[in-house]
């Protein structure tokens, strides 16, 4: 009985998909063709997109560098025992996390020159990416540090270890395994947010695809290739993060 019902579900799902495909194909046959232009892809789209891949990668890693360092500063500020430090830092983190990255990019892009700081669009974008993700990173650090059992701190005091030794030899080695994969996930998220730099005319992969599209009046190939590029990179990176997690788990036991 149960099996029968599940089979019905599968069949109806396939029927819906099949119907959609037929309808879409029927429409496309009358309105346009769904031919994928391989020659255009090979001769024009791919070479031009590959040329700007380094810009996307650079933006990701530069931004991530800022995020990792600034995130640590924010985390230390938030965990500070001085309320006059921890409260404002907490508010800043919440504010940056609660507002869109794109508005922050625009904000920096238009505000910085008013204060005499004239940066190329690329650097402004990287700075905004780094600032935005530093708040996420700071939460990762905080969670990692707070998850360490209180007994570890107490044991360090009982053994008369100095604050530096406690931190270096007791706390950090235990905090790293949960922190690293979480940072890896934010690296992937940040990579997927680099197309936002196209809004301030940084020619990264998305902007180049748009330029190709507007030159040839066809967006199908360039944009799809960009999508596939991100999909491929994120899937590979996600597998890497999973490996890393497993590696830490094995090492700990």
């Amino acid at each position: 009985m149960r099996l029968w019902r599940m089979n019905l579900l599968v069949l109806s799902a396939y029927a819906i998909i099949g119907g959609l495909v037929v309808v879409l194909y029927g429409q496309s046959a009358t309105i346009g063709s769904i031919d994928w232009d391989w020659e255009f892809t090979r001769n024009e789209v791919l070479p031009r997109l590959i040329q700007v891949v380094p810009i996307t990668i650079q933006a990701t890693f530069l931004g991530f560098g800022i995020a990792v360092v600034l995130g640590l500063v924010l985390a230390i500020g938030r965990l500070s025992k001085n309320v006059w430090i921890s409260r404002p830092v907490t508010e800043v983190i919440e504010f940056v996390r609660g507002t869109p990255l794109l508005v922050q990019i625009f904000f920096l892009f238009f505000i910085l020159p008013d204060y005499g700081i004239v940066l190329p669009a690329f650097l402004t974008g990287v700075l905004a990416l780094g600032l935005h993700y530093s708040t996420y990173c700071s939460e990762v650090y905080r969670a990692g540090l707070e998850n360490i059992p209180r007994g570890q701190w107490e044991a360090a005091i009982a053994l008369n270890l100095g604050p530096l030794r406690t931190f270096k030899d007791i706390i950090v080695p235990q905090a790293i395994p949960p922190i690293v994969p979480a940072l890896g996930n934010y690296l992937i998220a940040m990579f997927k947010d680099t197309p936002l730099l196209s809004f301030i005319a940084v020619v990264e992969i998305m902007q180049e695809a748009k330029i190709i599209g507007s030159e040839w009046y066809v967006f199908r190939e360039p944009i799809t290739i960009v999508g596939l590029f991100f999909l491929l990179m994120s899937v590979v990176a996600a597998i890497g993060v999973r490996r890393l997690e497993a590696w830490f788990r094995v090492r700990r036991h």
């Binding site: 599968v10 429409q27 508005v103 238009f110 936002l196 199908r220 999909l231 899937v235």
Partner: protein, 241 residues
């Protein structure tokens, strides 16, 4: 009770802020920003509904015993989590017409954002269902519940309470995600601010105010989420820490 006061204070301070803003000469650009906010809210709410439906469908499908359904769900989740949401928006609005599917900007925005957040939500649903203690499943077997009934009566009510905070976070992520819709010709809060900045050139005030409005909306959703969590969590003996 305390939460109601917070709400009241928030709303009052918002209007106080508006009053201050209008005295400070903000009234030239405030109406445009508020019009943009309406588009942002509309998009967020509609896309959230799409995301909820898709997330439950895909999250449960990923737990299906049938590999065909499972792979369908995995395909959807990986594609929409693995690509950039800007690329998805652009693809749905500019590339789908080349395949013969025309969408209004609003439809495309709701669809793209809903599909994107739905993929993230599917993992949340799946994790919450799996986190329901094993005995609960065994009990439904012992009581001879059908799979569907066990899910509806025993598993989902517990899973839903557990996933409320994450859904609250996803709402804020979605709210922030709507800032990209200017690329499909919609004038949301971000684009309204951008346009004003081109004409009025009061960058600090305009973008500052836009950020504050976004933050305000995020805070309201945060408060609503924790109120909902408290409300639905009543009467449940919680197994989680």
């Amino acid at each position: 009770m305390k939460r109601h006061y917070i709400f009241l204070i928030l709303i009052l301070s918002f209007f106080a802020g508006l009053a201050v803003a209008s005295f400070a000469g903000f009234k030239d650009f405030l109406p445009a920003l508020l019009r943009g906010s309406v588009v942002t809210i509309k998009l967020t709410v509609m896309a959230y509904i799409v995301a909820l439906v898709l997330a439950f469908a895909a999250g449960l499908a990923k737990l299906s015993p049938l590999w065909s359904i499972r792979w369908l769900a995995i395909g959807y989740i990986e594609i929409f989590r693995g690509t950039s949401s800007l690329v998805q928006l652009f693809w749905i609005f500019f590339v789908l017409p080349e395949f013969g599917i025309m969408l209004e900007p609003m439809q495309a925005g709701v669809l793209a954002l809903g599909l994107n957040v739905g993929a993230y939500g599917a993992e949340v649903v799946r994790a919450a269902v799996l986190a329901v203690p094993r005995e609960q499943y065994e009990v439904t077997t012992a009581l001879n519940f059908s799979r569907a009934m066990a899910l509806r009566r025993i598993i989902l009510p517990q899973a839903i309470v557990a996933m409320i905070p994450t859904w609250g976070n996803l709402f804020i992520e979605l709210l922030k995600g709507t800032a990209l819709v200017s690329v499909i010709t919609l004038t949301d809060l971000t684009f309204a601010a951008y346009q004003l900045n081109q004409s009025v050139l009061k960058t600090m005030e305009i973008f500052g105010l836009a950020l504050v409005i976004y933050y305000f909306m995020a805070q309201v959703s945060r408060i609503a989420t924790s109120a909902l969590e408290e409300r639905l969590g009543q009467g449940l003996s919680r197994g989680r820490a």
